[in-house]
Symmetry: C2
Subunit: 646 residues, 2 copies
């Protein structure tokens, strides 16, 4: 259910979902409301007058009884429950028209979608692990062939299944299982990737259990693990769950993990704890979905090369040392128990191949999940983060590289930086006249700090309004309380002490912006270099796919304003969400994708930026907002000109 909100006096309208916070709705509509506490009703600045319709909440001690009676409410505490007419009071009412240039990208860009029906229509829906029901003739004196032969003959003759092999675990189960339901059994078969490979019979169950076939997709991120339990028969996720990667305690990024893994017992420890968390996630998924543990027939993992090697207990040491060689990029299929994963003896583990030490299985999985490898369009695939991966190409070729952006996007090296968890400022606008902020925090609570997506938006807004210049330096001529020098560093106060959870002013500093510029510069110049290496230019890009949890939260226009992304039409940008998880999901459901992935990996050409001479030049040119070459950002250039005139 959605509701229409009309903001007065500008008569701006927007449709929002039932229960949406009014301050978020205003931000989406480009209507500025002063607000700095992030939504806990602490600063009391975001009061609005509800002229028509119903809201829930919005009452606060910051509102006098009289105001309450008149219909004033705090926007940050109000949930939309019907169509509304809302008046922005005079204290917030400024010329917000400049902000209208901005449209929330998050609402307009398309989500990468996994379409099971399309896959079925294309005939690609052959799960890598399939169940087949067999009604066998019971043995007799005339027909006392071995149990296994009975099964294999039936599969050959009546199911056109060939090149069948079995394993020890299966053999142990066969005799009793066959006789449990008078030789009516369901066998589980793992398909080979190669046409001439073997079909492996991995399980046998009494009766017809073909309707009970579940697979798990599991993205092993450096920071988070994310699992989905899928019903193979419908392609639907029946449960999903995320958790932190417990290895965080041993280092925030891959490099510190690699260093730790090389210590005595380090690899074993990191391996053990991630397996522990995987088992915890599996337990919860199984419980949530109400299925039996041994109904899970396969698990697909994807992670970057370091996470993958640690998962498999392969020392990632040489990933970090020049010339950066991973142990492998293709991984064999094996049984879950070989890894200590607490699933059935038969459950098969599939691990996503990577392309190089720094373009790992998570990226390949994302590429597979996005379908970019089947598209004609020249696509820029970006996974933004400390370790940023960039892939450029289409169905005919692909070039990839990885750039070290530093930790700014994940809140590292930022004075009040934090992960995108409760209390993190994730959205921001600024009154171009009063320079008062409007903040939105994750979870609508008092601010605790700034997360990566918030940082990008804040920097973009400060730049557009001239609070900082294109080198990221503060305009020291602005005589505003919020713009000040602390400990000899210029900063803009986002929230004063009393409006925060941390009992300190939360500000963004010049050095924060400097770190951000270096991070975004590394990414942009990596894409630029990669394109140049393959003889193309930035403007030949027809599509941008943003992968990774972080990518989904980035405000596109802001990202283009600061020069993190090349400037393109917003509708050319797709958010993939957790692309790695999406690729795992598809891998668990269609064997065709497992066949394709080998070809995709083979056609990916990896470029080491350190070995590419032009990279440093491009990087230095990128250390401006948005870039030395403003002409590459024509829309922004025009916008800045408009803003300057005002």
């Amino acid at each position: 259910m959605t509701h229409k909100i009309t903001f007065k006096p500008h008569n701006r309208e927007i449709e929002v979902a039932d229960g949406e916070s009014l301050i978020r709705a205003a931000m989406e509509a480009g209507v500025h409301i002063n607000a700095s506490c992030g939504g806990e009703g602490v600063c009391g600045k975001c009061r609005v007058l509800i002229e028509e319709g119903d809201i829930e909440g919005g009452i606060s001690e910051h509102l006098s009884d009289e105001d309450q009676a008149k219909g004033y409410r705090l926007a940050c505490r109000s949930k939309v429950k019907s169509d509304l007419v809302v008046r922005i009071p005079i204290e917030s009412e400024t010329d917000t028209s400049r902000l209208n240039l901005r449209t929330s990208a998050r609402q307009t860009a398309k989500e990468g979608q996994f379409n099971i029906d399309q896959i079925k229509n294309e005939g690609l829906f052959i799960p890598p692990v399939e169940k087949i029901f067999l009604q066998l003739e019971p043995p007799s004196a005339e027909n006392n062939i071995p149990d296994v032969v009975r099964i294999i003959q039936e599969l050959r003759v009546n199911h056109d299944e060939h090149r069948l092999v079995t394993g020890l675990c299966l053999l142990r189960k066969i005799p009793d299982t066959l006789r449990e339901d008078n030789f009516n059994v369901t066998v589980t078969i793992v398909r080979p990737v190669r046409e001439d490979g073997r079909n492996q019979i991995i399980d046998i169950e009494p009766g017809d259990t073909t309707s009970r076939n579940f697979v798990v997709a599991l993205d092993i991120g450096t920071t988070t693990l994310y699992g989905q339990l899928l019903d193979v028969n419908t392609g639907e996720a029946v449960a999903q769950l995320g958790d932190f990667n417990p290895q965080i305690s041993y280092g925030e990024d891959v490099i510190t993990r690699i260093v730790y893994a090389d210590k005595e017992g380090g690899l074993e420890k990191l391996h053990e704890i991630v397996i522990g968390t995987i088992n915890k996630i599996l337990d919860k998924l199984i419980k949530k979905a109400g299925i039996k543990r041994d109904e899970i027939t396969s698990v697909t993992f994807a992670g970057n090369s370091t996470m993958t090697q640690i998962l498999l207990k392969i020392n990632p040491k040489y990933i970090r040392l020049a010339p950066y060689v991973p142990a492998s990029v293709l991984y064999p299929q094996f049984r879950a128990s070989e890894l200590g994963i607490d699933l059935g003896d038969h459950t098969t583990v599939l691990v996503y191949p990577g392309a190089s030490s720094y373009v790992g299985g998570d990226i390949v999985s994302g590429i597979m999940g996005s379908g970019m490898y089947r598209s004609e369009k020249l696509t820029l695939f970006m996974d933004i983060g400390t370790n940023a991966e960039i892939v450029i190409g289409n169905k005919d070729w692909m070039a990839c590289t990885a750039a070290s952006a530093g930790p700014a996007f994940e809140g590292g090296g930022i004075k009040f930086g934090m992960r995108a968890s409760k209390g993190a400022i994730e959205d921001f606008s600024i009154d171009p006249v009063t320079y008062e902020p409007m903040l939105i925090t994750v979870g609508n609570v008092k601010a605790k700090g700034i997360c990566g997506s918030g940082l990008i938006t804040i920097a973009a807004r400060l730049f557009e309004t001239g609070v900082i210049d294109n080198a990221g330096k503060f305009n020291q001529g602005l005589d505003i309380e919020r713009i000040r020098k602390t400990d000899n560093v210029w900063e803009y106060v986002l929230a004063f002490k009393e409006a925060t959870q941390i009992d300190r002013d939360i500000a963004i500093t010049e050095s924060d912006i400097d770190n951000l510029i270096r991070a975004k510069g590394a990414m942009y110049s990596a894409a630029h270099t990669l394109l140049e290496e393959v003889g193309l230019t930035i403007d030949s890009i027809e599509r941008i796919i943003l992968a990774g949890g972080f990518g989904s939260y980035v405000d596109l226009e802001s990202a283009m304003t600061i020069g993190l992304l090349p400037e393109t039409d917003l509708d050319k940008v797709t958010y993939l969400g957790n692309g790695s998880l999406l690729g795992c999901k598809m891998n668990g459901l269609t064997n065709r994708l497992r066949k394709d992935v080998g070809e995709v990996v083979n056609m990916m050409t990896n470029f080491e930026l350190a070995e590419t001479n032009s990279y440093m030049d491009h990087y230095i040119a990128s250390l401006f907002l948005p870039h030395t070459d403003l002409n590459a950002f024509p829309r922004l250039k025009k916008k800045l000109e408009v803003l300057k005139k005002k």
Copy 2:
């Protein structure tokens, strides 16, 4: 070194090995010497006069000083140390000419031989598990392909190795091992059985270790386990060792084992203890040969279907229940650790396929080891024992069956029956005039009992000398102390109390002979039935192969005399020794054999005797010495006629 012995007064000559016992030499030469204690110098009856040459030992309190001075020695205690002239004293001197008809088959029949050179000449010497030395180019910025890819590319390009796959264990070892000796490594590859299969890289070691490649052949018998450690580079056995199957404590034969396995925890127990003994044997083989544990690259097991299923922890329950269905006859290859076998992580286990529930991997292994599947000759392959297996055929076809002979051949159901261990009477002759025995025991110690091969020879001699008739009944007219009735059963005393280890007279009874007749009848009639089923007769057999430890000890002429074996020229009979072990050995050394074995198993037609109507008729006809139809034994017929005339 051998020595020539001339026995006086008959001037019989024989060549024997240095150190051979003189009484054995006499028996081989067909010279009778009275002896009943089995070689411990207790009865003192076997004294002989050494006229020329040196012997070692032979002194005893049973010889007076005077006799000793003259040169008398006890034959059972004398070891041949030079050419000899030996006179048999008057008390032993009887007409031994009748015994000359007999020649020790054990000396004349050919041993099935494993000929590594022949295999090499035939181009079949491609071990299933091979080592290849690689000198790889170390990685550089220009060539930083993953470690695994570096190995696979080298194998493809410079060693013509294709369809290569790896496993988790290997991946874990690769990065460090590559860098241990500057990218000089030796990889271990398991060959596929099928042409289109995968070559599996299972191990990597620094430097060149190609000269260190060992495999183990292990025969898992119901009673004994026998292991050989082989050097793949020479094909030679570098150590070998036998041990009892500890499962004996839970039942002597396969049926009692199957029953025990089906009890709560029974299968696990039987599995565990056999694995324990296998590990013990491996420990000793490794120590004996002075090799490193992880230099063993593969182990090949063979056993009957029950032993194989217990080894693999597959409940053998349905082998025993009609219609006698084994879980499988083809077994996958797997890693030793999956079975709890204490070898390297990479060590590959190969298990011999069987043909049916009662014609198992040990028999197939024997067929492969004997080379019968490559011969034109119609061959009768027999493994004599409680569970007797019979295969008839040649390179174009094979028919097999199993017969339950009962435990007589293994000393079961025989009053003084025992296994062929120290003190068991294993050879016997009888003075046709005095009916005095000449015994040889295993280990030349005082007799403890009778083993299967002894039993056959004793029965044959008693039959030939008319002590028993063709129904196995004693000639009650013979007035000899040794032939008597005890507890209402007729018997022949082989050794009186004082000449035994057991402080009792050791005798063979009429009921023992009855059991033996039923056992041999079951075997002969099984072969007869099988031949008839395929439209052939007994006399079409061109060759007999005796497999199994027991087979090697059977005196051929005796076996034909009692009708256990069809009568043929002795030189048509081959002892295979432990055929199962031999097949395992070849399997470990030539992959060609692994390819052939599948075809052999496919062409084996199994006949269930219980389903074959004529079997019972043939069986009843076989319950005589040698058979109802004496004409089927023309040589024996003639011999009996000669003996009768005397």
